[in-house]
Structures are given as structure tokens and as C-alpha cells.
């Protein structure tokens, strides 16, 4: 039974992915590169949130420090292109490995902290990295790094006139990270992570080395985050510290995941699919008025969702699903809720 249900779920995902892949061919999106831009951002931020979800959702360690890893990935690609004038690929590779290594080094002492102490420690780490990078001339300091005009294409991971290339890259990134998490969900390591989240002592008593699990989860999460950072900078063709390595950016990881439904596979996608269009289109509509109306609404909406449904979008959808199901079963005359 278990096997069959899994197949069904995966088949659905597969259909969904094929649809996403065909999306650029639909004229309504392809004709207009702003919608394409929004689609790319949804995929990117869903990937970022999913990467955070590994440590924050599945493993239960709420990190506000992910913009550090995001920034390292971004600077890796940025410096490879701007400082060393090459292709971004070696920089991406170094950035990803460096992010994982740094994640292990800084997380090890932090994991001794609990609750809010841990959260605020990760704030502090972001601020330290942010301010250090701002005065560090080797990485461009406060001036930032601006991409030169180079040849378009996959070699340089850069496209100018169309966004289709970026879209497919974002899709691959999305698939990679969702695939990893999907695999983790069924894998032994995924169970370890959830065991650590539910209770560290209990997990330890069952023979799970909780520190090792958390460190491994953090390293994986950081590496995938760095990958997203590299894509972000390739997409924006500029990197500076406030853009990538700020508390604002860190909050986005947490916000999207939690609003979508943390610790679930679809949560990050849901969060990004709601939050990113909201942010982009409301800015397009009202940003030009200059009163910050878009941000006022954004703030209110966050409060509303979080307060009404702390489980996130996925909770809302479950509620709706339950109601629909109830009506259906009421019509049929038996109760679906009663069965285990």
C-alpha cells in the first residue's frame, strides 16, 4: 500500500514538473518577461526555502543565518567572473564547498544553544559577516562587484535578451533541491532529522548522534543555499553585501518556509508561490505611488496568515480539503473523518 501511494504522489509531481517545464512555451508568459521574472523568482525562492527547510523544518533548528551561506555562494560566482574574469562554474563549486565548511564551523558551537539563544546567535553571525564583507576590499567591499558584458550562454551562465535560459536553470535548481529533500524524506537520515526535531534526548537515547545529524543537515542545507546564491547573482549581474548577506534576506528564507508550511515538501513551494507574486505584483501596482502601500499590505498579510494558520498555507489547504471531503462524504452518507 505504502509503495503504491508513493508512486501516485510522485507521478503527480512529475506531471507538475513537466507542466512547469512547458510553461515558457505558453505565450502568455513567454511574451512578457516580467511574468517570466516572477516565475523565476518563485522557483528560486522556493528552492532557497526548501534548502532552509532541511535544517529549519525537518531538523527543527531555526536558523536566521542562511543569508551568510547564500552570500558566500553569491560571492563565489561573482568573484570568479568579476575578480578573476573567468566562468562562474569554479566559483560556484568553491562557494558551495566553502559554505558547507563554514556552516559546520560556525554551527558547531551554536548548536549548544537552545531556542531563542540559538536564533539570536544566528542573527549575530549574519551581522558579523555582513559588516566584515562590507569592509573587506578583496571581495569588493562596499562597492560591490558588477558583471562585465560577456558572451551569453550556459558557459557563462548568463543571458541578456531572454529569460528562458534563466528559467530552465531555476527549474533545474528547483528540481535538484526538491529532489534531494524528497529523497531525504524517505531515507534513514530524514527520520534521524525528524527524531532530533521531536526531541533531542529521545533521539540520543535511540542511538542517534544528534550533533552529527544536525551538523550534516546544516552542511547540506548551506551547500544548497549557496547554490541558490550563485544563481541569484548570475541573474542580477551584481553582488554587494546588503543585497545578499543581510537580515532581510535571512528573514525571507524563514518567512517563505513557515508561511508555506515548514517541515513539509510542498510548503516552501506554496510559500514562494504566494509570497513572491504578492511582493512583486503589489510593488508593480503600488510601489510607484511612493507611500510604501505594498509593504504595508505585505506586513498585514504576514500577520494574518501566521496568526490564523500557524501551520502555513498547507494548513489552510488541508482545512479546505477537509471541508470539501466532509461535504462529499455527507452526500454519500458516511463519514470520512471516522476512519483511521
Amino acid at each position: 500500500m505504502q509503495r503504491k501511494a508513493l508512486n501516485k504522489k510522485d507521478a503527480l509531481w512529475l506531471g507538475f514538473v513537466v507542466l512547469l517545464a512547458l510553461l515558457p512555451l505558453a505565450p502568455v508568459v513567454a511574451a512578457n518577461s516580467f511574468h517570466m521574472h516572477v516565475a523565476i523568482l518563485i522557483l528560486l525562492f522556493a528552492s532557497m526555502a526548501q534548502a532552509w527547510n532541511i535544517i529549519g523544518g525537518y531538523c527543527g533548528q531555526v536558523s536566521f543565518g542562511h543569508s551568510v551561506f547564500f552570500g558566500i555562494g553569491a560571492y563565489g560566482a561573482g568573484m570568479a567572473v568579476v575578480t578573476y574574469g573567468g566562468t562562474p562554474w569554479p566559483g560556484i563549486l568553491i562557494g558551495v564547498m566553502l559554505a558547507a565548511a563554514i556552516a559546520v564551523v560556525i554551527s558547531y558551537p551554536c548548536f549548544k544553544l537552545s531556542g531563542h539563544y540559538f536564533a539570536i546567535a544566528t542573527f549575530a553571525i549574519v551581522e558579523i559577516f555582513h559588516r566584515t564583507f562590507l569592509v573587506w576590499d578583496w571581495v569588493g567591499g562596499a562597492l560591490g562587484l558588477d558583471y562585465p558584458l560577456v558572451k551569453e550562454g550556459l558557459k557563462n551562465l548568463m543571458w541578456y535578451d531572454t529569460k528562458t535560459g534563466y528559467y530552465y536553470c531555476a527549474l533545474i535548481l528547483f528540481l535538484l533541491i526538491f529532489g534531494v529533500v524528497r529523497w531525504l524524506e524517505g531515507h534513514r537520515f530524514g527520520y534521524y532529522m525528524r527524531a532530533v526535531r521531536e526531541g533531542q534526548e529521545t533521539a540520543e537515547s535511540l542511538g542517534v548522534n544528534s550533533t552529527a545529524v544536525k551538523l550534516a543537515a546544516m552542511a547540506l542545507s548551506a551547500a544548497l543555499t549557496a547554490l541558490c546564491g550563485a544563481f541569484f547573482v548570475q541573474y542580477n549581474l551584481r553582488v554587494d553585501t546588503p543585497m545578499v548577506m543581510s537580515l532581510d534576506m535571512s528573514m525571507k528564507f524563514v518567512l517563505i518556509t513557515v508561511l508555506g508550511g515548514s517541515g513539509t515538501l510542498v510548503g516552501p513551494l506554496l510559500g514562494a508561490a504566494v509570497l513572491i507574486p504578492l511582493q512583486e505584483y503589489s510593488r508593480a501596482l503600488w510601489g510607484g505611488l511612493g507611500g510604501g502601500v505594498d509593504l504595508i499590505i505585505f506586513g498585514l498579510l504576514i500577520i494574518l496568515i501566521v496568526v490564523k494558520q500557524p501551520a502555513g498555507m498547507i494548513g489552510i489547504i488541508r482545512d479546505i480539503g477537509k471541508r470539501v471531503l466532509k461535504q462529499k462524504s455527507a452526500a454519500k452518507g458516511d463519514s470520512a473523518d471516522g476512519t483511521p
Binding site: H116, A121, A124, R131, V258, G291, G292, L300, P310
Partner: protein, 286 residues
């Protein structure tokens, strides 16, 4: 040596203001285990209250502290009633994100209403006054703010430790259900605690316009520093937050002067990490 004392003095005075801002956050955290992300924005709103009282009615910030304190008390109580109440008992992240949304809302609503221009009150009782002792310069506004901080934090400490109401707060903080069984209306306790937390930062914000410009972004950095102070001091410990505030102010000033100004916040956050790595529950935590 003289410079050292001067730098340290400036730092400590600033630190006392941090302590007052942090004290409000600390009591909320201690009783309800909620991080109020909109704390810096409360400060900003309080500064606007004080500024407009001064600008429109010519009330000196020194008097406006009372109005600002009351205003933010109400704002805090409203925050609890409308938002926080629904997040109690849910994962800690929920309240944090809700107040993060509130912070975005308050910041942009103030920008929308009062424009992003920065506003300064001139010719207040305290502004630009200094006391000289030998070669040492005491800036009067910061000095008064520091003393105010000492008084307010002392009062809150006394309230919590010597009054029946304070004991009720402590009981609620320790075990909400047990307190409820003892006949304490914990919902009301939470409401008042959130209000008091707001009032602390309201008082701090009330006095600040006598030396600092008011604008929608002014609270962000104070809020962040307050988080650090509270966590450094230890879970819900008001003396801890106070000492941490002064420590943060001093380290900021000394690092800024003796290393380089851009390193001052790096030093502050580094100090926090060092403290919690050595004592994972903060200086006064257990």
C-alpha cells in the same frame, strides 16, 4: 587615559539607553517566551509621539516620556490582544514572524503618514547641553536618559519582586497552567506584561528626540541591539539585560575608537557570541 575614560563614559551612557530598550523586550521574553520583533518599531513610534507633542504642543521630550510610555503601553496591549494572544502555545517562530510582519507594517505606515523625512526637535530643555568635569564632557541628554533608564528598570524590578501583582507575573512565567489554577487571570497578566514591555521602550523613545533625529528607520538598529542585550543577560533577567546593555554600549564605544569605527557592531555581536558560547544561557541565565 582621559580619552579612554571619555570614550568609556559615552559608551556606558549609550549602553544605559540600550538597557532601557532591552528591559522592555526582556520582560516580555521572560514571561511569555515571545521575541517581539517589532520592538525597534515601538521605539520609533514613541519617538514620533514625543516629536509631534513637542512640535505641535511645545511639550518638552522630558515630559513627553509619560505620554509616549502610555501610548506604547496601549500599542503593546493592542498587539497582544490582536496578535500575540493567538500565538501563545504555538511554536515560538509564529509569534516572531507575526511581530516581524507588524514591524514592516509599522515602519511603512509611519513612512506613509509622516513622510520619510527625518525630524529634529530643536531647543529642547536638554538638547546639546553638556556638563564639563575637568576635561571630561558629559552630554546631558544621554545622562538624563541613562538616569531615567536606571529609575525605570529599578521600578520594574521592584514591581516584579515586591508586589502581589509582580508575584502573579512570576507565577505565570513559571507555569501558566498552575497560575491559572491558583486563580490568576493569566490572559490579563500577559496583556499587562506586553503593555509594560511597550511602556519601557516608549519611555526610552520619548526622551530620544532631544538628541536624535526621528525617521522611520531609526528603530531597526536599536531593536537588534536589544535582542543581543536580552539574550546576553539571560532569559528574562532584568538585571542581566541592564548589565548586558552597559557592556554592549562600552564595547561598542571602545572597539569603535581603538580598533576602527566600522568594527564597533562586529565587536558587539562578537561579544554576544563569546558570552553565550561560554554561558549558553547568558550571564544571569540558569
Amino acid at each position: 587615559m582621559e580619552t579612554f575614560v571619555q570614550v568609556l563614559l559615552d559608551g556606558m551612557l549609550n549602553g544605559m539607553v540600550y538597557a532601557l530598550v532591552a528591559a522592555g523586550l526582556c520582560i516580555i521574553w521572560g514571561v511569555m517566551d515571545v521575541i517581539n520583533f517589532a520592538h525597534g518599531e515601538y521605539l520609533m513610534v514613541a519617538m514620533y509621539v514625543s516629536y509631534w507633542l513637542g512640535f505641535l504642543l511645545n511639550v518638552d521630550p522630558l515630559l513627553s516620556v509619560i505620554a509616549a510610555g502610555i501610548f506604547i503601553f496601549i500599542l503593546g496591549a493592542m498587539t497582544y490582544q490582536l496578535i500575540i494572544r493567538y500565538t501563545i502555545g504555538k511554536p515560538g517562530l509564529v509569534a516572531l514572524l507575526a511581530t516581524f510582519g507588524l514591524a514592516i507594517f509599522l515602519k511603512n505606515a509611519c513612512m506613509n503618514r509622516f513622510s520619510p523625512n527625518f525630524l529634529i526637535l530643536t531647543d529642547t530643555w536638554l538638547s546639546d547641553k553638556t556638563l564639563h568635569m575637568g576635561n571630561l564632557i558629559f552630554p546631558v541628554p544621554q545622562l538624563v536618559a541613562g538616569l531615567l533608564s536606571l529609575v525605570v528598570v529599578g521600578m520594574i524590578y521592584a514591581l516584579i519582586n515586591t508586589t502581589r501583582f509582580g508575584w502573579a507575573i512570576q507565577a505565570t512565567a513559571m507555569d501558566r497552567d498552575a497560575a491559572e489554577l491558583m486563580g490568576i487571570n493569566t490572559d490579563r497578566i500577559y496583556l499587562v506584561v506586553f503593555g509594560i514591555g511597550g511602556a519601557c521602550v516608549g519611555i526610552a523613545g520619548g526622551i530620544m528626540p532631544s538628541y536624535l533625529a526621528v525617521h522611520p528607520e531609526v528603530g531597526s538598529m536599536f531593536g537588534l541591539i536589544a535582542f543581543v542585550c536580552v539574550a546576553m543577560g539571560g532569559f528574562g533577567s532584568i538585571p542581566g539585560a541592564f548589565i548586558a546593555g552597559i557592556l554592549v554600549g562600552s564595547v561598542e564605544a571602545l572597539a569603535g575608537f581603538y580598533i576602527a569605527p566600522v568594527f564597533k557592531y562586529i565587536a558587539v555581536f562578537g561579544l554576544y557570541l563569546t558570552v553565550v558560547f561560554l554561558r549558553p544561557k547568558g550571564i544571569f541565565g540558569w
